[in-house]
């Protein structure tokens, strides 16, 4: 069982690293990097699902009978786009926050909110 699922477990480790960064970091930019890591790892997880041993890339070619599953690829194409769109919006927010508060550290932000 171990070698069969080992791939997934490493991916889970990757995901959790990203997730951990999101939760634990106080820097808004770093959070976004973590979020990106988290999402990218989920993409890897999906693509792993689509792999068929001995299959080839899902582009029709004469004489090839076994292809990897194209559906996860499609889903992840969409998800990648969604991810980068989210990042762009988030960065725009960070820039505005920086302009309004003068910091991008979570703790300082909370302090400045309490002050006013």
């Amino acid at each position: 069982m171990l070698p069969e699922l080992y791939n997934y477990w490493v991916v889970i480790l990757l995901m959790m690293t990203g997730f951990y960064i999101v939760i634990v970091q106080g820097n808004l930019i770093k959070k976004l990097i973590g979020l990106n890591l988290f999402q990218t790892s989920v993409f890897i997880f999906y693509i792993s699902l689509g792999k068929v041993s001995g299959g080839s890339a899902p582009i029709f070619a004469e004489g090839v009978s076994s292809y990897s599953n194209p559906l996860p690829h499609v889903l992840i194409l969409t998800a990648i786009v969604v991810g980068i769109a989210t990042t762009a919006l988030a960065l725009a927010l960070v820039i505005r926050i920086r302009n309004a508060y003068g910091t991008v550290e979570e703790e300082e932000l909370q302090q400045r909110d309490l002050e006013c």
């Binding site: 997880f45 999906y46 969409t78 919006l89 309004a100 909110d113």
Partner: protein, 498 residues
């Protein structure tokens, strides 16, 4: 054309959004947006009628059959939720005609309307679709639009709130994505009906349970179930008031819809209750949410924040309804979903009117408001009574069913806790009433506001507010539509498991 209604419901606002951008004048954009929302409301009414006459509608996008292509599937439940969403959206956008001018600078209004339409399209898409990955895509459309809408608030804290919501929302969406991945690995399909047919084969599988847990947690982040609610109060408090009205009445409702849909239609009550002690967890969290959020609400000086906490509490009620695991409980949830949208829509619209006139939603701004803005305050009072669950308002109907469900399930303590929660609602609503009617106004208005601002809100804000208030009362008296529909939906969801 009638057979294409399901897709038109989503595509109308979806395509209206970029079209808006091509129009340049913001007044024109507003009129166009109102038309688009109105059209979408009309479509949702027709859909509800069609569904109630002919049963569930299925629409294959691109002409591909269900498990291969994406399917739109409109049953009574989705038609009902879409009616709420598009109805509220229309009223809010009508109010935005004048209400917006104080909150968003003119040059940004076009972008605001575009984002608003996109958000609406996203929400409707989540409800209409029968494909679980499509849910994710439209969830992200609505979420991204929501983050932007919140960030348009004047207060700089709006930015911070939007960022927090973005992080939490994205984590939630990613969790859902992980859950979908597990499900796909288990069944090889993304179509909800197909999933529902295949999941029982792998009942007891740890993969299925994990998928369920991740999806539920992801959705609960979105619907701000206690203790995952921390993003909501700030987001609602600092967003532009009209955005708050829209979001409070629709976004969380759609999340609740999603929970119900996935719980009952995809996994099925059987699976959900056998693999996990889900009912107990939902009941506990729901009750905890009701109490904690209501208690916090009592001490909020900012009224928008107060009602934001109250929203968390009301979501708690909806979750309790699901937690009973009975048809009546589910019916109570559905009723409250519908009814709470009406109450909160009315309340936040009225608050928008207050902010429009006074520039603040602080409790001190409310002193003596009963005289200054009698109609607005009356709307708030009626909305508040509905929140408490007074008879002859919609709030009573949903509370009645919730308590009935508790008693029927033999859970007397839950029934008592639910009603105690209403008492907390009395407390926070009454702070407002006292301030508005029995305290003299502060001598000086906040600086920068002069004479005319002492007046009642403009009609364009009042009329939508009062429309909602009247619907509140009307549906509190003539309950055939809501009770009938929710009853039919509840028994369909629990009975056949689809």
């Amino acid at each position: 054309m009638l057979s294409h209604l399901p897709i038109l419901q989503v595509v109308v606002p979806l395509l209206a959004a970029p079209a808006c951008l091509l129009l340049d004048r913001s007044r024109l954009v507003w009129i166009f947006t109102v038309l688009a929302c109105g059209l979408s409301l009309l479509i949702s009414m027709l859909l509800l009628y069609q569904v109630s006459q002919h049963g569930t509608l299925s629409y294959d996008l691109g002409g591909w059959d269900a498990p291969w292509g994406i399917e739109y599937r409109i049953d009574l439940l989705s038609a009902y939720v879409m009616l709420v969403v598009s109805g509220i959206a229309t009223l809010v956008i009508v109010a935005a005609g004048t209400g917006l001018e104080r909150e968003i600078p003119l040059e940004k209004q076009t972008v605001f309307y575009v984002t608003y339409l996109l958000c609406l399209a996203g929400l409707l898409g989540i409800v209409a679709t029968g494909d679980i990955f499509n849910v994710f895509v439209f969830l992200e459309i609505s979420s991204l639009a929501t983050y932007a809408l919140i960030a348009y608030g004047r207060d700089r804290r709006a930015l911070w709130a939007a960022y927090q919501y973005l992080i939490v929302g994205t984590i939630g969406a990613t969790f859902i994505l992980i859950g979908i991945g597990f499900l796909y690995s288990l069944t090889g399909t993304l179509n909800m009906q197909d999933l529902a047919a295949r999941i029982p084969d792998s009942a007891g599988s740890r993969t299925a349970s994990t998928a369920f847990v991740f999806i539920v947690v992801g959705v609960c982040l979105k619907l701000a179930l206690f203790p995952l609610h921390l993003w909501l109060p700030n987001a609602y408090a600092y967003a532009p008031s009209l955005v708050t009205a829209f979001l409070a009445a629709t976004a969380t409702k759609v999340a609740v819809y999603l929970l119900i849909r996935l719980h009952f239609s995809v996994f099925g009550e059987q699976f959900a209750s056998s693999s996990l002690p889900l009912h107990g967890i939902l009941l506990t969290l729901g009750l905890a949410g009701v109490f904690v959020a209501s208690l916090v609400a009592i001490f909020q000086p900012d009224i928008k924040r107060l009602f934001a906490y109250s929203s968390i509490a009301q979501i708690g009620y909806m979750i309790i309804g699901i937690g009973f695991g009975t048809a009546i409980g589910l019916q109570a949830t559905l009723l409250h979903l519908f009814n709470h949208a009406l109450m909160k829509g009315a309340l936040f619209l009225a608050l928008a009117a207050v902010v429009y006139r006074l520039g603040s939603a602080d409790i001190s701004a409310f002193r003596g408001l009963g005289r200054r803005m009698p109609w607005t305050m009356a709307a708030i009072v009626i909305g508040g009574l509905s929140l408490i669950g007074m008879p002859l308002t919609v709030g009573f109907v949903s509370k009645w069913y919730l308590i009935l469900a508790a008693i029927e399930a033999g859970m007397w303590p839950v029934a008592l806790l639910v009603v105690t929660g209403s008492i907390l609602a009395v407390v926070y609503v009454w702070r407002l009433v006292e301030a508005a009617y029995f305290q003299p106004p502060e001598n000086e208005l906040p600086e920068g506001l002069d004479g005319p601002d002492r007046r009642e809100a403009p009609l364009t804000l009042l009329v939508p507010t009062w429309l909602l208030v009247l619907v509140n009362i009307y549906l509190g008296i003539d309950t055939r539509l809501t009770v009938g529909t929710s009853g039919a939906v509840a028994s369909a969801l629990l009975g056949g498991g689809q």
